[in-house]
Amino acid sequence: MIEFTEEQIERYSRNLLLADVGIEGQARLLNGKALIVGVGGLGAPAAYYLTAAGVGTIGIVDSDEVDRSNLQRQIIHFTSDIGRLKVSSAEEKLKSLNPDVKVIPYQTRLTSENIMEIIADYDFIIDGTDNFPAKFLINDACVLTGKAFSHGGILRFSGQTMTHVPGSSCYRCIFEAPPPQNAIPTCSQAGILGGVAGMLGTIQATECLKYLIGKGDLLTNRLLQFNALTMEFRTVRIKKNKQCIICGESPTITELQDYEPPICDLKHN
């Protein structure tokens, strides 16, 4: 039985009160390890909630620097952080929010070369990336290594998310391969309402917390989609695809591959 300090009892009192979290659940959170890929619109709120809840180890991956245009939605970065590395800016806020949490920054872009080593130590991965090559790479790496992860995507006023655990349907069960270049605009081309990023990143964080405490029903074999303009939510049932090229009966993908990164002529990010 883990012994909590008086400060921890006070800090986590609202978690401890919950029948589905309690002492055991809080101990699981403190022993939990989550990796957040991208500390942007999705990763920022996710990182805040996981840190506040006391997830003991949080890895953050991002190669970018903070830009003024990020501040409208990437709430972990402040005006004074413009030009700083996003991982440094985020690390500082998270440590300040909760000194119980060990924050591990990875100032890099995930590739087929480094992803296996980076995800190896984590229990749950949050995909907070803004491009399809990264989303497929995260899916493939997690499926091949049996890791749980939350997929998230946002555009304009819409969001979608699903959770994968070993054995459940994966991102490729629905979307076999990335769409053609420029078929889907990126957020920097199409725009995104900051609050929509917050909604989705918060759902992803909640899935991670549920996974770590082992309670509730995850968004597995379901794709949650919402449109914030009409504020309508729907959940689409997804069957595990026997023909899935990575998790089906005869997978053709047995090792990682890197898709071409998106070409964008706008100012970076």
Binding site: M1, I9, S13, L16, L17, G22, I23, E24
Partner: protein, 74 residues
């Protein structure tokens, strides 16, 4: 079966039930916890929250002034 004692007369909501819950979590099934509480919020909520979370309320007795003893079985 062991009886444990807990004094939460100096605590305020929600730490009253948080402390009760932490003590109960350290105990074995069928152990008994005697919690000293003040009247008002703790006296109303500790029995309610305890039964909601699956513990058995054995009884409440007046100790002195505004202090009560709540007996809970895990």
């Amino acid at each position: 079966m062991t009886t444990y004692k807990l004094n939460i007369t100096k605590e305020h909501c929600p730490m009253t039930f948080v402390k009760t819950k932490i003590q109960l979590s350290k105990m074995a099934k069928d152990d008994i916890l005697e919690v000293l509480v003040t009247e008002g919020e703790p006296l109303e909520n500790i029995p309610k929250s305890s039964t909601e979370q699956g513990f058995k309320l054995l009884g409440i007795e007046h100790v002195q002034d505004n202090i009560y003893k709540i007996r809970i079985k895990k």
